[in-house]
Symmetry: C2
Subunit: 203 residues, 2 copies
């Protein structure tokens, strides 16, 4: 782990695939907090999930999730008995992680970008961006994560020196330290995820 005033790059190629908690698919963890947390004990967790067959999603008690379709035609989800069609890529959608969710693939396998967070203690903001965007620096206690979802992305001002850049290939990610002003630039799409601890007044 890099400390100090530089982003920490998390390369897609270095991720291990893990079977879903319920066995129905494969997930690749991008980042989680605490780092050693299992799928039952995280404050937040960001992952890419390959869904190759119809079936239920794993249940995550106390967890909210923001799901972004990243590859494939999409899913017809049944969430707590209600249909939710997810057929548009790169559009973040919010779900309760503990609602029983059944997934029917619309036309073949999909890849989902998943942001999960414990709703009582953590607030998560997920955006999908394209173009050239200055990112609000992370405050102490916040985590700012950038993930290239569709083609490469560049983080400018990403190092200790002025003008230093980091190039992210598809599905590479970067964690920006608190206080670092940086800019993301992509002709594709990048996810920008910010985690904040929920204060007493915000819950």
């Amino acid at each position: 782990m890099t400390s100090g005033n530089e982003v920490r790059v998390l390369r897609a190629a270095e991720r291990a695939a893990a079977v879903w908690k319920n066995g129905g698919g494969v997930t690749r963890e991008i980042a989680a907090w605490p780092e050693s947390a299992g799928t039952g004990a995280f404050e937040w967790r960001v992952s890419l999930a390959d869904v190759a067959a119809d079936g239920p999603f794993s249940g995550f008690p106390g967890i909210d999730r923001t799901l972004t379709l990243a590859e494939g035609a999409g899913m017809d989800l049944t969430v707590a008995g209600a249909h939710r069609l997810v057929d548009e890529r790169y559009a973040p959608r919010h779900f309760a992680g503990d609602a029983p969710t059944d997934c029917r693939l619309l036309d073949g396998p999909v890849v989902n970008f998943n942001v999960m967070y414990r709703r009582d203690t953590t607030r998560a903001e997920t955006a999908v961006v394209r173009g050239d965007l200055a990112l609000a620096a992370a405050e102490p206690g916040e985590t700012l994560l950038v993930v290239a979802l569709d083609g490469p992305a560049v983080l400018e001002g990403a190092g200790a020196g002025p003008g230093e850049t980091v190039e992210l290939a598809r599905y590479d990610a970067a964690l920006a330290p608190a206080g670092l002003a940086c800019r993301v630039r992509t002709e594709g799409r990048a996810a920008v995820v910010r985690f904040r601890p929920r204060g007493g007044g915000q819950v």
Copy 2:
């Protein structure tokens, strides 16, 4: 004009349509600087342009532009003799404003979101975002503009009081004053445009 620590909202319904400099289409100015500048004397200008027929774009000497297709199937542009296909909505694309540009509509009228800026003196960053995103506050001398391109958008923290929000309907815009930390939230798409004066070291 609102001063102080609140956004200034620029409603779509209050815009007048103007004929293009070359007479070939209609444009609606969202914001420009200086405010009284004509189409030949601005530092920057943001507008929506209705293109209903094939033909040349107006030439803007010394101007760079970032064009984002907002409605319609798109355009086959010929820029300084080279083809550039613009057939994807909400994807910012950069052009030289002074290159002779001819437009052939692919399938009916389009609406373009145009960001133009004097390349010697101004730097412009344009992004299209969806989801929930904290915006880096404008620095003194910068201008930060948010435009709802596709459905409504909400600006949070947009006023003097904490939690104050502004709702933007489609094509409404908001200028954020320097130092104001705010957040944009939309299930559609919003443009985030930042103008910076070019310093001596940046040119």
